[in-house]
Amino acid sequence: MSDTVSDAEDILGIAAAWHAEGEQVAIATVTSTWGSSPRRVGSRMAVTASGRIAGSVSGGCIEGAVAEAAQRSIETGTPQRLDYGVTDERAWEVGLACGGKVSVFVEKLS
């Protein structure tokens, strides 16, 4: 749980604009964090099949992996729950430099 984010950045607005342009879009949302993580619950990233990215779900360490997962959700239409952190074996691949943990929900905009 966390205080609500109300960043000025309007990732949902960007996602809506991309969708209106005919892009295939996925939205990733931070749903939980533990320890020190740079982005708060509710932070979002939008990704298109064509490779456009807006927003972020971490300090930059897992965006690549989340973007790849977003492509899978765009292809399959299936939402995904992703966990990243130091106890995860992925930590060695894409881990969080901050030592925190973060859960991200990825879904296609349909």
Partner: protein, 228 residues
């Protein structure tokens, strides 16, 4: 996420209407609450989280839900369409504040000087009454003119904004306190005014002063400002 949900969330934000957005983490099914069609347990959880302005994951039955509280952004009312206000407004917008610039002097309070923000050209006390001061609102007075600053400060101190700041030197502020005391504002209320305004970063130029002011407002919003 359905495009229709995305559109409804953006519409609520534009109308400053608080909503909770609940997403089932297994299926992606979602509700924008309040919604009579939502399960009662989910509706209760969402209402509580929205009231506390918190977002997070909850388990209802054996299902995980992400509930995002989407309250309207905090507001900053800037009294005085002056040079420092021009420097302050972009910092405030970037920090997530909805900004209204209040100044009855129409030569200063122009869309030219303040693009993209609301402008109120009524007298500051009337403007603050009309706009309403709640605990998600910050007020800062920048005019240096008692005729404009004092009525705004009296309104701000009679309400419950989370921040009240007033530009002016220690000497200016001492004179201001004397005037406000003379019209019956008590010392506890006067102590809520942040003056000299802004965090002490040795600011000299208008952008530096604006930076010190927005930093102090953010500190107040995030609970890191010592009580006066």
């Amino acid at each position: 996420m359905k495009a229709a949900h995305l559109a409804a969330l953006r519409e609520a934000a534009a109308a400053r209407r608080p909503v909770a957005f609940a997403t089932n983490l297994a299926t992606g099914a979602a509700f924008i609450l309040p919604d009579e069609a939502a399960p009662a347990a989910l509706a209760a959880e969402a209402a509580a989280m929205l009231a506390a302005d918190r977002s997070g994951t909850v388990t209802i039955g054996d299902e995980g839900w992400f509930i995002e509280s989407r309250n309207p952004p905090p507001r900053l009312l800037v009294v005085g369409a002056v040079h420092i206000a021009q420097a302050l407004v972009p910092f405030a917008l970037a920090s997530g504040f909805a900004v209204t610039v209040v100044d009855p002097r129409r030569a200063f309070a122009t869309a030219d000087r303040f693009p993209g923000v609301a402008i109120a050209t009524d007298w500051p006390d009337e403007a603050l009454d009309r706009l309403g001061l709640d605990s998600r609102t910050a007020v800062v007075t920048l005019t240096h003119d008692p005729k404009l600053d004092d009525p705004a400060l009296r309104r701000a101190l009679a309400a419950d904004p989370f921040y009240v700041g007033a530009l002016g030197s220690r000497k200016t502020h001492a004179a201001r306190l004397d005037r406000l005391r003379a019209v019956g504002v008590d010392d506890a209320a006067l102590a809520r005014i942040r003056a000299p305004v802004g965090l002490d970063i040795g600011a000299v130029t208008a952008p530096e002063i604006a930076l010190s002011i927005i930093a102090e407002i953010v500190a107040a919003r995030r609970g890191r400002l010592a009580a006066p």
